[in-house]
C-alpha cells in the first residue's frame, strides 16, 4: 500500500517548467531519498507534495498527516523550544505527546530555551520535534541537515534514522549528500534535467546499511555518475 502516490506530476513557475512527468510511489514505512543538482526542483517536489505551491498538474495523493522539516529550522523566535513543539499540537493527545517527542529528539533539557540561544543542531531537532508531534504518517524532509557542520550532521543522521524508525513514518528526504542518502534511504531517486525528470532509481539492499562502513561501492559510483550526468551520456551514445 502506497503512502504517497505521485502520477505524471508537472510543476511550472510561469512559463518555466520545473518538474515534468514525475511518477513516484512511496510505500508505507519506506524512506526515499531524492538526490539531484542544486536548483533542479527537489524542493519543489516536496512543496508540491505538501500542497505549498499552487497549481501542480497531475495527481498527488498522500495518506494521513504530513510533517515537514525545512532546511532552516524556521522556529518561532518568541516561543521556547517546548512551545514551538506545542504549537503544532491540536488535540489533547497531541499535546500529551510533546514530552515524548522532546525526549525522542533529545531536547528534554532545553524546554525553556529560546531559539536564539540554540545551536544549529538543537534548532533543527526542535523543528523535527515540531513535525513529529502530530504523529505524521508522512515526513517530508527538505535538506534538514544541510546547514550543519560535518560532525553534527553525522550525529543527526543517526538520530534521524532512529527517530523515523521509532515513529514508523514514511519519509521523503531531499538531500545533495550521496552518503546521507545511502545511509538513511531504502531507495534513492535521482532528479535531473530542466524540467527535472526522474533519471534513476536505486533500491538500497533491504538490510539497510545502518553503519558507515557498509559496502555500497557499486551504488555509490552509479549515483555519482548519474549526478554528474555521465551515465546519461553513455546511454545516449549506446
Amino acid at each position: 500500500m502506497s503512502a504517497i502516490r505521485i502520477d505524471k506530476l508537472r510543476v511550472a513557475f510561469g512559463d518555466q517548467p520545473v518538474l515534468d512527468g514525475i511518477t513516484l510511489n512511496v510505500e508505507r514505512g519506506e524512506i526515499v531519498a531524492v538526490l539531484g543538482p542544486s536548483g533542479c526542483g527537489k524542493s519543489t517536489l516536496l512543496r508540491a507534495i505538501a500542497g505549498l505551491d499552487a497549481h501542480p498538474l497531475g495527481t498527488i495523493a498522500v495518506e494521513g498527516d504530513v510533517g515537514y522539516v525545512f532546511q532552516e529550522p524556521r522556529l518561532f523566535p518568541w516561543l521556547s523550544v517546548e512551545k514551538n513543539v506545542r504549537f503544532a499540537a491540536r488535540t489533547p493527545q497531541e499535546r500529551a505527546r510533546v514530552d515524548e517527542v522532546l525526549e525522542l529528539t533529545g531536547l528534554q533539557n532545553a524546554r525553556e530555551t529560546l531559539p536564539k540561544a540554540l545551536s544549529g543542531g538543537m534548532a533543527q531537532r526542535t523543528a523535527l520535534a515540531r513535525a513529529l508531534v502530530r504523529k505524521p504518517s508522512v515526513l517530508l524532509l527538505d535538506e534538514p541537515l544541510a546547514a550543519l557542520d560535518a560532525l553534527r550532521r553525522m550525529q543527526l543522521q543517526e538520530a534521524l534514522a532512529e527517530i523515523i524508525a521509532a515513529v514508523g513514518a514514511t519519509a521523503i528526504l531531499v538531500t545533495h549528500d550521496i552518503e546521507e542518502a545511502l545511509y538513511l534511504a531504502d531507495r534513492i531517486v535521482v532528479l535531473r534535467g530542466t524540467p527535472a525528470t526522474i533519471a534513476l532509481q536505486i533500491a538500497i539492499p533491504p538490510h539497510k546499511c545502518r553503519n558507515r562502513d557498509c559496502n555500497l561501492t557499486a551504488e555509490r559510483s552509479t549515483l555519482f555518475h548519474a549526478l554528474s550526468g555521465d551515465e546519461l551520456r553513455q546511454e545516449e551514445s549506446a
Binding site: A50, L52, V66, Y68, F70, E72, R74, F76, P77, W78, L79, F87, A88, L114, P115, K116
Partner: protein
C-alpha cells in the same frame, strides 16, 4: 555607575550655566528665572494644590487619547497589514490624513467639539494614532514569510495564522510605534492645551507667558520633560521585557 553618571553630565552643565546666568543677571527677571525661583514656584504651586490638578488633567488627557489611538491603530493596522484589499481601500486615505500638519486640525476640532475635553483628547488621539498604525503595518508586512509557511503546512486557519504567527512576530514593531505614539501624545497635548484650556501643563505655559512669569513656564517645561522621559523609559522597559526573544544587538 559610570554610564549613569555620564547621562547626568549634560543636565549638570546646563544647570550650572543657568545658575551663573541668573547670578550674573544675563537676562531680565521677566525673561529667565534662576533655578531657585523655579523650585520655589514649583513648591508654591504644589502647596496650593494647583500643580497636582494640572498634572492630573494633562496625564488624563494623554492617557485617554493614547488609549483610543492604540485601540484604533491595532484594529485598523492589523486589518490593513493582513489584507491587501483593505489596504488598497483605506491606506491611501490614511496616509493623506497623516500628511496634514497636526495643528491644522485644531480649528476644526474646536468648531465641532467645542473647547472641552473631547476636542483635546481627539487631537491627542490623532497625533498618537499614526506612529502606531504605520509601525504596525510595516511590522506585519515584514513578517518572515517562511514562518507563515510553517503555520500553513500545519493547516492553521488564516485567522489563527494571524493571531499565532503574524501578530506575535509584528509585536516588537507595534511596541516601537506605541513608544513613538506616546511621545506624540504629549506633543499634541501641549498643542491642545496651549490653545484652549483652564487646567494642565500647557495651560501653565500660556498663563506664565501672559502674566510674564518665566518661573511658571519653566516649571511646566520641567514637568513635561520629566513626564516624557518617564513614559519613554516605561515603554522601553515594557519593550525589553516582552521582546527579549529578539536576537538583536541589544
Amino acid at each position: 555607575m559610570h554610564r549613569s553618571l555620564l547621562a547626568w553630565l549634560l543636565p549638570a552643565a546646563i544647570l550650572a550655566v543657568w545658575i551663573v546666568a541668573g547670578a550674573a543677571h544675563w537676562f531680565a527677571p521677566d525673561q529667565l528665572a534662576p533655578p531657585s525661583r523655579v523650585l520655589a514656584e514649583l513648591g508654591s504651586l504644589w502647596q496650593r494644590g494647583l500643580l497636582q490638578q494640572d498634572i492630573l488633567a494633562s496625564a488624563g488627557r494623554v492617557l485617554g487619547g493614547f488609549a483610543i489611538a492604540l485601540a484604533l491603530a491595532v484594529a485598523i493596522g492589523t486589518l490593513v497589514g493582513l489584507n491587501r484589499t483593505i489596504e488598497r481601500a483605506i491606506d491611501p486615505t490614511l496616509q493623506a490624513v497623516r500628511a496634514v500638519p497636526s495643528l491644522a486640525w485644531v480649528p476644526l476640532l474646536l468648531l465641532w467639539l467645542g473647547i472641552g475635553e473631547a476636542a483635546k483628547i481627539t487631537l491627542i488621539a490623532i497625533g498618537a494614532f499614526f506612529p502606531i498604525y504605520v509601525n504596525l503595518v510595516a511590522g506585519i508586512h515584514g513578517v518572515d514569510r517562511k514562518l507563515v509557511e510553517v503555520a500553513r503546512i500545519l493547516g492553521l486557519h488564516p485567522v489563527a495564522v494571524a493571531m499565532r504567527v503574524v501578530l506575535p512576530a509584528a509585536f516588537p514593531s507595534l511596541l516601537v510605534g506605541a513608544r513613538i505614539g506616546l511621545t506624540q501624545a504629549w506633543l499634541f497635548l501641549v498643542a491642545a492645551e496651549l490653545l484652549a484650556s483652564t487646567r494642565g501643563l500647557g495651560f501653565l505655559l500660556t498663563e506664565g507667558q501672559q502674566i510674564s512669569r518665566p518661573d511658571e513656564i519653566l516649571v511646566a517645561i520641567l514637568l513635561l520633560a520629566i513626564a516624557g522621559k518617564l513614559c519613554e523609559s516605561g515603554m522601553l522597559t515594557i519593550e525589553r521585557r516582552t521582546t527579549a526573544w529578539q536576537d538583536g544587538l541589544r
